[in-house]
Amino acid sequence: MGVWIMAGITFREAARKKILWTALLAGAAFLLVFGIGLHFQVGDFRNSAVPPFLRYQVISAMLMIGLYTVDLLAVVMTTLTSVDTISGEITSGTIHAIATKPLARWQILVGKWLGFVAMAAVYVALMFWGAIAEGYWIGGVMAQHPVRGSLLVFLECIVALSVTFMFGTWFSTLTSGVITLGLLGVAFLGGWLEQMSGFTEGSRLAMVGIISSLVMPSEAIWRRAAFEMESPLSGSLQFSPFADISIPSIAMIVYASVYLLIALAIAVYHFGERDL
């Protein structure tokens, strides 16, 4: 019961943060620009001699770039809205009134985590399916497995959330935010290095990418999502930057799921042990 009360109040608290509304506004602006871009591209194709097959591949590639933007926005928004929920409330003393109620520490932390999970779910649902809908209605293209893709983007958000919680039980808001965003940056770079390694079959570059993905598997989850959503043809023809040159395996998704559970478990343990 206490977990759900905490989840509810955390969701309401998160929904009042300016950063969430800024992210939603940024998302709305993105959807607007994306829709206009698709509209113009479709109009230009109508008056050109580009064959229909190529038109479809170009619009599909645009959709993938749009979904990648959604992915980045969702992960950054999840990190920034949740970064002060533990460390900030410890610093301000707000946590004292909660932690002295008949709730175990794990219930407080897991309740807060669930509140942000719900918020990330709403954000991903709005943004991801908004982009998918625009691709379909304006561009006439549909992702191969959009449900799998949206679930993987959601998983990526939850990984970032759990890591943010873990550092939030140790460090100040600013420090834990910088560390989490730094790890996301490492994953971003590593993911692209691994993708590049596919062109030359360079094992050393691939190894750097794999190690980066093990340290922070967020970008690997996206590349798996991209593989699931791209049509097999456009993936193999390398029309989009996310073409299936180096595809993270299902084992990497299992690893990411275990990774987030371990990060959450460490957060629960340390929050339970530390002085407030």
């Binding site: 019961m1 206490g2 009360i5 109040i9 309401r12 608290e13 009042r16 301000s92 003393g93 707000t94 004292h96 009134a97 909660i98 932690a99 002295t100 109620k101 008949p102 709730l103 175990a104 042990e273 002085d275 407030l276």
Partner: protein, 285 residues
């Protein structure tokens, strides 16, 4: 903290005093399970400190109470009541009465972001009482309150004791402690220095101020059998006794010695005087 041993009786208002850095807030945090002692043990309501279930019977007002600013007072109390396991039906009756008790009815529609520090303390006190706890820890409850607010808090604390609750009060305001508490303990550097039972007035040292004429030297020297400290300034005589017990004998002795007594005023040593005498020089209190 080191070698801190305390016993608080049920149903009393217990004052916890000490200079800055003495360990008052740390002690409360350990009793509530917010901080873990490196050694030793503490029990609240016969349960080890920090026990989750026993917290249903404990209320706590932290120093400088803060909470989510977008809540109204009723929403805040509802949330804390639900966290304590109070049924929603009971809360709907209890919350308006609590808001009225702490004097926030005129501000019932405001959000906490528009509250002053004193108003936050009041709603913080209300959340500590929302589940009618058996033990209430109050860390500087009158901080930021005006004199009327302090009086309200004092009345609420007494009312809680009257319904059988135990109140553990940590405050800098010695005058508040003096008129509210049943027992006080002074700590310094994590150790109990002394304690005082505020109800046992007969046992406390008393200073007597006397105004009288015809105070003979024999009369003044004769007072030494009751007092080590006798000072005379013309018609003013001041002496200190260890208790109130000998006061009638002293008065009879003065009159019997031929002194014309106009005033005989026993005064209890104030808590502030006691605090200063116990703590010594100012170390930042």
């Amino acid at each position: 903290m080191r070698d801190l041993t305390l016993t608080v009786r049920r149903g009393e208002i217990f004052g916890f005093l000490g200079p800055n850095g003495a360990g008052k807030s740390t002690s409360i945090k350990m009793l509530l399970g917010l901080a873990k002692p490196t050694s030793g043990e503490a029990f609240v309501l016969d349960a080890p400190s920090g026990d989750v279930e026993v917290r249903r019977r404990i209320g706590f007002l932290p120093e400088n109470f803060r909470f989510y600013e977008w809540l109204t007072p009723a929403e805040l109390l509802h949330l804390h009541g639900r966290l304590c396991g109070v049924p929603a039906s009971k809360l709907s009756q209890r919350i308006p009465a609590l808001i009225d008790l702490v004097g926030l009815t005129p501000h019932i529609d405001k959000r906490l972001q528009n509250f002053s520090k004193g108003m936050l303390q009041r709603i913080g006190l209300a959340q500590a009482l929302v589940h009618e706890p058996e033990v209430i820890f109050l860390d500087e409850p009158t901080s930021g309150l005006d004199p009327l607010g302090r009086r309200t808090v004092r009345d609420i604390i007494r009312a809680q004791r009257d319904r059988g609750a135990t109140v553990f009060l940590n405050s800098h305001l010695l005058s508040e402690i003096e008129i509210t508490c049943d027992q006080v303990v002074f700590i310094r550097e994590g150790q109990v220095v002394t304690s005082r039972d505020m109800r046992a007035q007969q046992e406390e040292a008393v200073r007597v101020e006397v105004r009288a004429r015809k105070l003979s030297p024999e009369c003044v020297s004769g007072l030494s059998r009751w007092s080590d400290s006798v000072q005379v300034d013309e018609e003013r005589l001041t002496l200190t006794t260890r208790s109130r017990e000998p006061l009638p004998d002293i008065l009879r002795f003065l009159v019997g010695s031929g002194a014309e007594v106009y005033q005989f005023t026993p005064q209890r040593l104030s808590l502030e005087e006691l605090f200063i005498s116990v703590m010594g020089e100012d170390r930042g209190f």
